[in-house]
């Protein structure tokens, strides 16, 4: 019996859905406007793709969702949890209080219960000072009934998370096991302020993730689909619902990641630049050995400086709905404003009154949508100039993302990719694969399962090679437990952090593996 999977990706303008068979052939695709509440758009796309596919609903076994719910909640400052945060860092760290530099409107919501307690570790894993457990218990008791989600952050927890774990235990003992707990070591790297910010944001969107997951499962049921649900995370792999509710912040920016992974699959390329042209922006990412290149810099989420891993994306304010303004002197400007999914109402070639980038390509005969008659009056020489500028903007951005002066392969995907020519400066080939319009949803559907193991090993006991082998097999076991097929698991990331001044050449090893669903 054939097994099918649904992939859904929520973009700024459109929500896309696909159904794939076991060999990843696209059986059906659907594109709906992204709704203000995000969920309606998802349900519409879901309904439509199931209806058009005609497949037996009982054969749909997996459903993967890449959504912007969490990002939106942070940006809109809505639907956030009642959060308290405990920083384990005194007597160090007092010179910078938590959430400094966070915009005031957000701070008012997530900064109501902020505590700093004694504890934390040195860079080499030594304890700075012991935990004062009684103080922590008192704080927990004072928070009962006031908050439903806790962020726990300890100095140098990426080296030793002993204090974060112990404080989490105390929280559960004092406040019950229902309370959500976010531990910073699972979220970010060294850099206390940024990691703390990310952890508090994570704690604030736990409910959003929970409701999103529940309503998605519910919506599937209403369609008669009983599928295992996964969420896309921003490194291009999947998370179980349970894990998503714990670490919802990892869903942020999964959209561009899905596009990159989808483009990789559709074009059969492992290394390329992926250009995803949407309605409002064009996102350019780097596909490196089949996965998106990660950003090495601090990233801003809703005005908050954080340091959790994110795909390295350059977002250019140029998409299919981007508005072009003509000036009296023959000059023009392109964007960054966009008509978004109202293109088919407001664009000139669709009977509207706004000149957009899509109208330009229609008028020049480069795309056969809309009504070319409606844009026939435009000055052709001017249009050529606008088109050249659009192409130049993209070529500049491509160049900025390249890792060397050598020409690279460029994969063009997304509904707006009709905007651009198939010859671009800096590209040795430009691929526009089949199903380019829903590459993101395909990326969501074909995502792999990942698992991570992080542990301190004494390298002297087994030697480096055998230690890493051991860590790898532990990660494999985890991945298989999470639903991966053992036979095609591969290591996607290894990090070794030597801990100085500890006996036995102690090294923290973090190893991440990914593979297809079993």
């Amino acid at each position: 019996m054939e097994i099918y999977r649904i992939g859904i990706d929520v973009g700024g303008t459109h929500t896309d859905a696909v159904i794939l068979d076991e060999s990843y052939n696209v059986i059906a695709e659907a594109k709906e406007a992204t709704s203000a509440d995000t969920s309606t758009g998802i349900f519409n796309a879901l309904k439509r793709v199931i209806a058009t596919s005609g497949v037996d609903k009982s054969q749909i076994k997996y459903a993967m969702l890449g959504t912007t719910h969490c990002t939106n909640a942070i940006v809109e400052r809505k639907r956030l949890n009642k959060v308290a945060s405990i920083r384990i860092g005194a007597p160090a760290t007092l010179a910078i209080k938590p959430l400094i530099g966070v915009p005031d409107d957000l701070k008012k919501i997530i900064g109501q219960h902020v505590h700093i307690v004694e504890g934390g570790h040195e860079f080499d894993g030594r304890e700075i000072t012991q935990l004062n457990e009684e103080e922590i218990r008192q704080i927990c008791r004072s928070l009962i009934g006031k908050v439903d989600s806790m962020a726990v952050v300890s100095v140098f927890s990426p080296i030793s998370k002993v204090h974060e774990e112990r404080v989490s235990e105390i929280i559960r003992e004092e406040m019950g096991s229902d309370i959500a707990i976010s531990q910073s070591a699972e979220i970010g790297n060294v850099g206390l302020i940024e990691r703390e910010n990310a952890t508090i944001l994570n704690a604030a969107i736990v409910n959003v993730a929970k409701i999103t997951a529940q309503s998605f499962i519910e919506a599937l049921k209403n369609e008669g689909v009983e599928a295992t649900v996964f969420f896309g995370q921003n490194d291009g792999t999947l998370m179980s619902v349970e894990y998503t509710m714990k670490y919802p912040i990892l869903t942020i920016a999964c959209g561009p990641t899905n596009s990159i992974r989808g483009a990789s699959y559709l074009s059969s390329k492992k290394d390329a630049l992926v250009v995803d042209v949407g309605g409002t922006t064009t996102d350019i990412g780097v596909l490196s050995s089949g996965f998106p290149r990660q950003s090495s810099l601090a990233v801003d989420v809703g005005g908050v400086r954080t340091n959790f891993r994110m795909p390295d994306i350059l977002s250019l304010g140029l998409g299919g709905g981007t508005i072009i303004t003509l000036h009296d002197d023959g000059a023009f400007s392109i964007g960054p404003e966009s008509v978004g999914h109202n293109l088919y109402k407001e664009g000139l070639a669709f009977g509207g009154n706004t000149l957009t980038t899509t109208d330009v390509v229609i008028a020049l005969g480069k795309a056969s949508i809309g009504n070319r008659e409606l844009v026939a009056h435009l000055d052709r020489a001017l249009l050529e100039k606008i088109y050249a500028r659009m192409t130049f903007m993209l070529e500049e951005s491509i160049d900025k993302m390249k890792i060397s002066a050598d020409d690279v392969a460029v994969v063009l995907v997304g509904g707006g990719s009709i905007l651009f020519p198939t010859h671009l400066k800096g590209a040795n080939e430009v691929v526009k694969p089949e199903n380019y319009g829903v590459a993101n949803a395909i990326g969501s559907a074909i995502s792999q399962v990942s698992a991570q193991v992080e542990k301190i090993f004494k390298m002297d006991d087994l030697g480096r090679e055998r230690t890493l082998e051991r860590a790898k097999s532990m990660a494999y076991e985890e991945a298989v437990k999470a639903g991966a097929n053992r036979d095609n698991l591969t290591v996607v990331d290894i990090q070794e952090v030597p801990l100085a001044y500890l006996a036995g050449n102690a090294t923290k090893v973090r190893i991440k593996v990914a593979g297809d669903l079993a």
Partner: protein, 363 residues
């Protein structure tokens, strides 16, 4: 005397990053500490050296250790205060004012946080006019001023009063103590009289940092070219413009060493510039030609925003403009060049002033 508020701190942070020449640690943490201290204790008094009473004691404040430790184990704000108290006790003299030891990176902001907390004035001066990695690389050292007595203090409440026979020993002992104390400590160091500071320090450097920040931010508002404005302000030279095409770095002996290649654009197309760095950018070359070399300042700026790119933050494809700025005269002496010249850092090129190198280019 004038007061430094939050706006001034934002400007100083930009200037400090630029004069940090790629190293010195990201001023971000120091900036946040200064902003919080101002919020709690009010604005900071900035004074010129002439406003200091004769014979008064001035003590620079600085952090020592790994900036990567400090971004995780943030200070509590008491360390520098403890260090100052311990030094006052030891010397039996009250400290009148503090000042930064360097005009680049995190250390140019940290004394401001301390000053706000203690209500001490800050003298508008520093000991480098830029950033350098070692304790003896200050203009005070050139004039034979001792780093001792000095105090190291950590957040746990430990402090060490040190007396050393010379400043290289101070560097050596302090560095190993720093590791035991947790990788990042605050120092009270180079205690000096007003007269010594006036003679040996580089004056008005905080004001200069603030001006750099102000022109960069203003240029953005006025849509002027911020790099041109910075060059005019500092009497600097545009050395090269392009994009980073290759980077090769290794961490050795606690220093991030390496080289980056810049592929030229515009007037520099078909040319390539190589940046050599050890925490800071120390040498810029084009083929066999030296464009600028330490102690003259090499700053790598984002071509669009003029914001400095650190040696850690350099990445492929970054559009940058490399500028050279003449170092303070004190560094161009024989002893100055022995201390921070190209040979000290292991580069086999002679020191030639950046303005002379540029003159040659014009001819």
């Amino acid at each position: 005397m004038r007061l430094l508020g939050k706006e001034e701190i934002e400007n100083i942070a930009i200037g400090a990053a630029l004069l940090g020449t790629g190293g010195g640690g990201d001023p971000y943490i120091g900036k946040l500490m200064a902003l919080q201290a101002i919020e709690e204790h009010g604005p900071i008094k900035l004074i010129s050296i002439d406003e200091v009473p004769d014979g008064a004691l001035i003590v620079p404040s600085a952090m020592m250790g790994a900036p990567t430790v400090m971004v995780e184990k943030i200070p509590n704000g008491e360390e520098a205060e403890d260090a100052f108290k311990a030094l006052e006790d030891y010397m039996g003299q009250e400290i009148y004012a503090t000042m930064p030891i360097e005009a680049g990176g995190v250390n140019s902001l940290l004394p401001l946080a301390l000053a706000a907390k203690l209500g001490l004035p800050v003298v508008d001066a520093d000991g480098m006019g830029r950033a350098f990695p070692e304790l003896q690389m200050v203009t005070f050292y050139l004039d034979g001023i001792s780093a001792s007595p000095m105090v190291l203090a950590d957040e746990k409440g430990n402090n060490i009063v040190m007396n050393t026979i010379n400043n290289k020993w101070a560097e050596r002992i302090a560095r190993s103590a720093t590791i035991d104390m947790g990788g990042s400590v605050m120092l009270a160091i180079y205690p000096m009289t007003k007269e010594q500071v006036k003679e040996s320090a580089i004056l008005n450097s905080l004001t200069l940092e603030e001006q750099i920040g102000a022109v960069v931010r203003k240029a953005k508002e006025n849509e002027a070219n911020p790099i041109d404005e910075v060059l005019t302000l500092l009497g600097g030279f545009e050395l090269f413009k392009g994009k980073i095409s290759d980077i090769d770095r290794v961490t050795k002996d606690g220093f991030a060493r390496g080289q980056a290649k810049v592929q030229g654009v515009d007037a520099y197309s078909d040319q390539e510039c190589t940046l050599h760095f050890q925490n800071e950018h120390l040498l810029a070359t084009k083929g066999q030609e030296t464009l600028c070399v330490t102690p003259d300042l090499i700053a790598v700026l984002d071509t669009d925003t003029a914001l400095p790119i650190t040696t850690e933050g350099i990445r492929y494809g970054a559009r940058c403009t490399v500028i050279g700025i003449p170092a303070h005269e004190k560094w161009r002496t024989i002893k100055g060049l022995e201390t921070v010249g190209p040979q000290y850092f292991g580069y086999d090129v002679p020191y030639v002033e950046v303005e002379k190198l540029q003159e040659k280019k014009v001819l």
